[in-house]
Symmetry: C2
Subunit: 378 residues, 2 copies
């Protein structure tokens, strides 16, 4: 293949890493934030804006797309890149997490998980092999193994059972992925909840199987932020230095910086778009809820010096009005603002790591967030 999958580390600063992934659909600069396109669309935001924000790669959901419009249909239409007209890299999750969180009924067995579709009630089987087949049909640049994800807090024996099952599924996914066209990548997923020994065992076994990259799963599922940071801090360093590391489903801007500082390279999260739709803007000055009444007469933009036109051009008063009036343009504009901000945060992290001043970058960024409480919210 012309441009097979590869990862290159370009700089480190303490545990923090900068690097890049090459895929068949282009480069991904890391640390990378992946906007979430659950149903082959980033909610409320035109692809052009997603790209303009600086996103190198997006995530799409296997669970949703296999149910609607269907993986075979997407494949017949030329694959997901062609179908959604996003010619850049795409990572697909395996569907495991959504089966646990969305399907109204499910049964986990050794063979796989059987669940009732939340759309039409049909019973659907998702095995490790089917999860890989679906992702091959979708044509994703980075596929994820099927795993079982346990909500925290949970009993240790439940966490351990799910972790062991996920390891056996990892092996089957690896085998199934041998059918994938060249240039595509498969990531394993570390499970083990908040138990360091289980996490360690999961890492060791996954590395033994061998993947193009490793994700930390089973976090941001109900645990306290400090638990998440502790698990990331213990798990990331145990992963191979020469492979990308992806923290699934995380998180706030502060979570991202904390995880980059602990050696994570990739993130996905619905927060920028979901919070945007609910009126919350992430900015250099911290979060701003434009629905608050005191914005109704505020002619200031969210951030006059932002790279994002929506953050510069529209007043807080206008954004406030759009939300009060129920105009969806409000959610769209704040989603765009947030997608730009998340990318800017990663751009800043990459530059800081390259310059060997990542700790300063985090300190300055957090200081500016805190300072805003006196200024922007006044």
């Amino acid at each position: 293949m012309s441009n097979p999958f590869s990862f290159r580390l370009t700089a480190t600063d303490g545990a923090a890493r900068a690097g890049e992934i090459a895929t068949l659909h282009g480069m991904v600069r890391m640390p990378a934030f992946m906007p979430v396109g659950t149903q082959a669309a980033i909610k409320g935001v035109h692809h052009d804006e997603v790209r303009a924000s600086g996103a190198d790669i997006i995530l799409a959901n296997t669970y949703h797309l296999m149910l609607r419009p269907g993986a075979e249909r997407v494949a017949a239409l030329g694959g997901l890149h062609e179908f959604m007209h996003w010619p850049y890299p795409i990572l697909t999750d395996s569907g495991g997490y959504q089966v646990m969180s969305l399907a109204p009924l499910r049964k986990v067995a050794e063979a796989g998980v059987t669940f009732r579709s939340h759309l039409d009630g049909a019973m659907v089987e998702l095995t490790p092999e089917r999860a890989i087949d679906v992702q091959i049909l979708l044509g994703s640049d980075i596929a994820m193994q099927l795993d079982e994800c346990v909500k925290l807090p949970a009993e240790k024996h439940d966490i351990e059972r799910a972790m062991q099952l996920s390891l056996r599924w990892a092996e089957r996914c690896k085998r199934a992925f041998e059918r994938a066209p060249a240039g595509r990548a498969l990531f394993g997923i570390v499970q083990g909840g908040d138990d360091p020994r289980l996490r360690e065992e999961s890492v060791r076994a996954l590395v033994g199987i061998g993947f193009h990259g490793y994700a930390i799963g089973g976090l941001a599922v109900g645990e306290a932020p400090e638990v998440m940071r502790k698990v990331v801090g213990e798990t990331a360093p145990a992963l191979p230095a020469d492979e990308p590391r992806y923290l699934m489903g995380v998180g706030t801007p502060a979570d991202l910086l904390a995880a980059v500082g602990r050696g994570i390279d990739m993130f996905d999260c619905v927060l920028p778009t979901r919070n945007g739709r609910h009126g919350l803007a992430f900015t250099r000055f911290g979060p701003i809820n434009v629905k608050n009444a005191h914005h109704a007469d505020d002619p200031r933009p969210l951030d006059a010096e932002s790279r994002c036109p929506a953050a510069r051009d529209f007043s807080r008063a206008y954004l406030h009005h759009l939300f009060k009036a129920g105009e969806s343009l409000g959610g769209t504009l704040l989603s765009i603002v947030n997608l730009f901000y998340y990318q800017d945060l990663m751009t800043g992290a990459r530059a800081a790591i390259a310059a060997g001043r990542f700790a300063d970058y985090v300190a300055q960024t957090e200081e500016q967030w805190a300072a805003k409480r006196d200024v922007a919210m006044s």
Copy 2:
């Protein structure tokens, strides 16, 4: 003032006219279609897309904006252009039509109309003077007189009473508008329902008062399409040739061409965005409802040769999927497609009028719409 309001006729072809309006915020090429920004936002569409579609001017609703966020607030924030960050021409309606159609309770008297706000139930008074004040506060380039609009069919004496009241309000609006800064325009509104004699009387009296332009109101309110065309065909020629003519709230692409052929210069309508949100695309091949099941596997774009990127880039299958999946991006993309199509229709009309072949243009356009029934919908 540097650039006061003026109208210039550049070509005629039969009754059809091409021309342009100069305003303080730029030129408007005519025939012109004005996208509707009811609450200072074109529903679901970013301003950049509205402008890219070719819109020279948009319409905003006085009724909605006076209730929320309030005309005085908008004025304090720099006026509507600044508030919504649309630096191009804006026409505002007077609020009369919305009072009739939206307010849950209203009382029309000589002084004005008193109504209950559909937002908070407060009683609000809208007099001709207040309607003008509000539009001056908003800073609109073209203001409309307050009128009383009667739904058709209606008794002749009701139509006549409303028409006569609208004329007296027209005089009061004209006087109130003397306070407006230079460079702004005020249009009168012809009423008279489907009665040629009443329409004629309304025209004569309005021209006697004297306005910068004349609208035909009280149509697209329940009458048959041929009634609308007949009234337009009888009324437009009676209006001054050297002033712009605006048909309010109309209509379908076919309605627009029919009205241009009868001497109308300006239109506004929610159809492109409303129908777009409901899955209906207006195209050169006629309307296409992407929600229809047969589009689910159709890799073709809506129109591969469209000027609109959304019509070229996205397959019917993808658009179908977005609607099935409830992704608002679907409505946004079709709204953009439709706004581009309406502008293209006007661009084509202007060129055809200038070339003296408007009748051919209409015939060819309608032929292509009809031909589609065999091709695009197959």
